[in-house]
Amino acid sequence: MYNFDVEKPATIVDAVQAMTREEAQPLSGGQTLIPTLKARLAAPSVLVSLSGIDEMKGVCKDDAAGRLCIGGATTHADVMREAADHYPALASLAARIGDPAVRNRGTIGGSLANNDPSACYPAGALASGATIVTNAREIAADEYFQGMFTTALEEGEIVTEVKFPVPEAAHYEKFLQPASRFPLVAAFVAKFSDGVRVAITGASNDGVFRWSEAEAALASNFSADAVGGLSIDGSDMINDLHGTGAYRAHLVGVMTKRAVAAIS
């Protein structure tokens, strides 16, 4: 990797200040960024580590709206443990990211800021209708995800917290890409009293997306049968060594159906 400075602020305010330095790059769990640096594919002049900011860590349910609030620097392993009683489907999603080493370093904020088209958390956040809280504002998930590796975050903006409305029932169904073990396709289905949200990751060249046809079908009939007959166009889906767009489109249906079956 190239040389860089490291700052390790203890508060969000200090982190935001540090991010004003030229070519500063926030470093959360580093599970994507560190390999990228080692491969010399990025050359930030300053890494601003977020792992020393206590106010960005932990899971709580003290939000007035009853939402589950997770600090941006909370590791997947901590979400797996601390969210288990409040939002088991989300805890299960966290528990199945990568391997123990990844889960003990990687963070929810880092995952959402990176918005890898095959990451797990974007599906959980989008299907839950979560609110992404930054140092500057609150962004609804529907506005936050803007395409592969693209989000609504501005330069220097840090994901400090994510607020999850807790659905009546939810399930994350994931089909693994055999090499990376990222989702080849995964579906997060969240059933709320006023509707159903379905988010798909791994499949689209545009990153995570809501499958509105499935949502509509499930809103009137929440059963695996309701989505069994649906199909989705694979022509703009990811086509690589591990599966064609058509295969991914097929898996979107299967994963969604199975997620629904798990909770209906």
């Binding site: 990797m1 491969a39 295969y247």
Partner: protein, 787 residues
């Protein structure tokens, strides 16, 4: 009852203590005072002309010691190929020059263009980025069949075409084979791909070159399976260093699987640069470099056909294979699709007529060479897939068809030039049927179907030729090396022994199993025997470890040397016991006079050898050290039968392996636990090839599976609990231990049964798919069932 030591005991692997507690001494652990680091600037295009390599700016970068380009190696030899194949017209193969650093052209992604030696690796990388390289890109040659078409772009301008050789075997049989096909009652044909693999040993390759200005002595520390071979190839053919001025050390090596047999440019570079820079020079491959510079494995495209008479007897077999050589000929590449592949095409069957055609092709890809099994997995896969397909076409039981055509009398001379000394294919199949619980399959299938899954059962046999093999024979076949093995047994005064073996252990457990053999022969504790390997200054000229040859060839050399030790020790004992030498018996570490209670301990004899106060000095020399070289009279022929049971999710195409049974015949066995472990490892790699692993290039010659993000390695959770048995034992008739070798069996024997099982599962779901290529990934299975 398990023995508590010696031959047949499951002694725990003594080397594991250091491997598992961080006390190993791997090549990357070697750091020499004053060493510099090298970074190789590698081509990111598959094919092109190097119009400019300008190092001027880079040379001024901080920490740079020296930068080398192809021009610096103009006077240096080509990386040699160790095997010359003669084609069906009697012409020798086309053999291109293989430069240490690219000269004038780049021919695959990953080929080194320049090398920066600097104080630190990061400085070397920084400087490498400042090298200006201009490449005029040429069309990449990737597809083998396109590569040999008239007018195709040539990988090597100075060769007549991209065809390395067109091999026919046995050429004289071709007419009879073709006639048998005309006369056949049934012919089954199959086209298939044996997928390209990356070996991926846990330890990447490393080379450290050192040069002693005082005495002109070169030392290369390297991750090699055969340090003497590297010393000979690099010293004699590349750098012109006489062997007495060159020491090659391969210390603890973390897995080889074939890809560490070969002599690589980086080894020659570090040795050369250490003298040129007068500094030790170290290179440690990154995992990314390993993907694009370690020799790959497999990569065959084959059409195979079987002719049968009306009674379903196999009457003839013919094959037509394209074998990818990559851009250059790696050390043993030409031998893999020919003598390690064509000679195995009889398999376990008494097919009387066989003809094998192999076209070896140059492409703009990483060189391809031996990988665990090397040629034999390709032969087994074709044949065992074909026999299965034949059975389904004929509507007969695949096991019954195999049994009907088994070779049952030994020795058996195949129509492809080899003679199997022993085997019992009926016995291994009987054992397999028992292990696989075929009777219970129906219930297990019903249980799977109740869950919405399909279940399939597949079986295959295999034969392999191990312990490569008589030097005079392989010389006739084109080997540019002998294939004996050596051992020196040095007995110390106090009775302990050191065995210096030309075999090399890179995970196989030789330090344990070799010691068991010697301890057993003398009747002493295994811990009195130390095994030394991997250093050309310590060990006599040896040929190293590959092709499951260590115990069969290296072990035999060690036995021969130990026999000499025992013979001499008996002479000493007869003197001490004042008895005739012919009356001396060695048992449990003591020499006794037959029929008396007179005896002398092993330690008293060894002490006498080195403190010869009471010693027959007029008859024998002091000391107790013997060397033997062993050149086998034949290959060994391990064989077996494997069964795989899969569950298939028809909605996703996901295949999981639910049961895997392996019945092997390895002849006599030294350490059953180590043998089981070797089979487990081989199965992991065979199942990995069948289900997951795939090294893929795009049409521009870019490596698509260039990291673990896209190259799917099997993990423990992908593999079942294996059921492994090696109780069927027909000892080898021509080596002193009666052993056959076990290192490659799992990788050779497992892919066909996996694919056969997957096809069986698909058929049970109403999808009559004739063939599916490996890896049988979920996407491919789904496509095959919905195509």
């Amino acid at each position: 009852m398990p023995k508590d030591g010696g031959i047949g005991a499951s002694s725990k692997r003594r080397e594991d203590v250091r491997f598992l507690t961080g006390a190993g001494n791997y090549t990357d652990d070697i750091n020499i005072r004053g060493q510099a680091h090298v970074f190789f600037l590698r081509s990111d295009v598959a094919h092109g002309t190097l119009s400019n390599v300008d190092v001027t700016a880079a040379a001024e970068m901080p920490g740079v010691v020296q930068i080398f380009t192809g021009e610096d190696f103009a006077e240096v030899g080509s990386i040699p190929c160790g095997w010359q194949v003669t084609d069906k017209h009697g012409e020798v193969m086309q053999e291109p020059r293989h430069p240490v650093l690219a000269d004038g052209k780049v021919r695959h992604v990953g080929e080194p263009i320049a090398a920066v030696v600097a104080e630190t690796l990061e400085q070397a990388r920084d400087a490498a980025e400042a090298i200006v390289v201009d490449i005029d890109e040429l069309p990449a040659v990737v597809n083998m069949k396109d590569a040999v078409k008239e007018g195709a772009t040539k990988v090597h301008d100075d060769l007549t075409s991209n065809l390395c050789y067109d091999w026919g075997f046995v050429e004289e049989n071709k007419g009879a084979v073709d006639q048998a096909f005309k006369d056949a009652a049934h012919v089954t044909s199959l086209e298939l791909v044996n997928n390209r693999l990356v070996a991926n040993p846990m330890e990447p390759r490393v080379a450290v070159g050192d040069y002693a200005r005082g005495d002109g002595q070169h030392t290369l520390y390297t991750t090699s399976q055969n340090p003497h071979v590297i010393r000979l190839l690099m010293g004699a053919f590349v750098l012109g260093i006489p062997e007495h001025k060159l020491r090659v050390v391969a210390p603890d090596v973390g897995g080889g699987f074939g890809t560490k047999i070969f002599h690589y440019q980086e080894e020659a570079f570090c040795t050369f640069a250490a003298k040129a820079c007068n500094r030790p020079v170290k290179w440690t491959s990154s995992r990314s470099e390993a993907f694009m510079s370690d020799a790959h494995g497999r990569d065959h495209v084959t059409k195979i056909e079987l002719a049968l008479d009306k009674d379903h007897n196999f009457t003839a077999l013919r094959t037509d294979t394209y074998a990818n050589m990559g851009a250059y000929l790696s050390t043993f590449a030409p031998s893999v699709p020919t003598w390690l592949h064509g000679t195995l095409m009889a398999g376990n069957y008494k097919t009387p007529l066989i003809y094998v055609n192999v076209k070896a092709v140059f492409t703009n890809t990483v060189p391809v060479d031996a990988y665990r099994g090397a040629g034999r997995p390709e032969a087994t896969y074709q044949l065992e897939r074909l026999v299965d397909k034949t059975a389904h076409e004929l509507g007969v039981d695949p096991i019954a068809l195999r049994r009907q055509n088994f070779i049952t009398e030994f020795p058996y001379a195949t129509p492809v030039a080899v003679e199997y000394d022993t085997g019992d294919y009926v016995a291994t199949m009987d054992k397999l049927e028992e292990m696989a619980d075929i009777a219970g399959f129906k219930k297990r299938r019903e249980a799977s179907e109740a869950k919405g899954k399909l279940r399939g059962f597949g079986v295959n046999c295999y034969i392999e030729a191990c312990g490569i093999a008589p030097s005079n024979l392989v010389g006739q076949l084109g080997a540019r090396a002998g294939l004996y093995e050596s051992a020196t047994v040095r007995v110390n005064a106090t009775g302990g022994l050191v065995v210096m073996t030309g075999s090399h252990s890179h995970g196989q457990g030789h330090e344990t199993s070799f010691a068991q053999v010697v301890a057993d022969m003398i009747g002493i504790d295994e811990n009195m025997v130390e095994i030394v390997h991997g250093d050309t200054d310590k060990v006599p000229m040896g040929m190293g470890t590959y092709g499951s040859r260590s115990i069969a060839v290296g072990g035999s050399a060690m036995v021969r040397a130990t026999e000499k030790i025992i013979a001499k020790a008996k002479k000493i004992a007869s003197h001490l016991l004042e008895a005739s030498e012919t009356d001396i018996e060695l048992k449990d570490g003591a020499f006794s006079v037959a029929g008396t209670d007179k005896s002398v301990a092993w330690g008293d004899v060894t002490l006498a050898a080195y403190v010869p106060h009471n010693y027959p000095l007029e008859d024998i020399e002091p000391g107790l050290e013997e060397t033997a070289f062993y050149d086998p009279s034949n290959f060994t022929y391990p064989s077996g039968a494997y069964a795989c049971e899969v569950e298939l999710d028809p909605e996703t195409g996901q295949v999981t392996i639910e049961r895997f049974s392996a019945a092997d015949d390895f002849g006599n066995i030294i350490n059953p636990m180590i043998v089981t472990g070797q089979v487990h490892g081989g199965l992991a790699q065979g199942i990995g090839q069948a289900l997951m692993e795939n090294c893929a290039y795009d049409s521009d010659g870019q490596l698509l599976s260039a990291s673990y993000m896209d190259y799917a390695m099997p993990r423990a959770s992908d593999l079942p609990f294996y059921d492994v048995d090696h109780s069927c034992q027909t000892p080898c008739t021509h080596n002193p231990l009666g052993v056959k070798g076990c290192g490659e069996a799992g990788a050779i024997g497992s892919p066909p049964s996996v694919v056969n099982a997957v096809l069986d599962a698909m058929r049970s779901g109403g999808h009559d798919v004739a063939h599916i290529d490996m890896p049988v990934s979920p996407a491919r299975v789904w496509a095959a069932m919905n195509g």
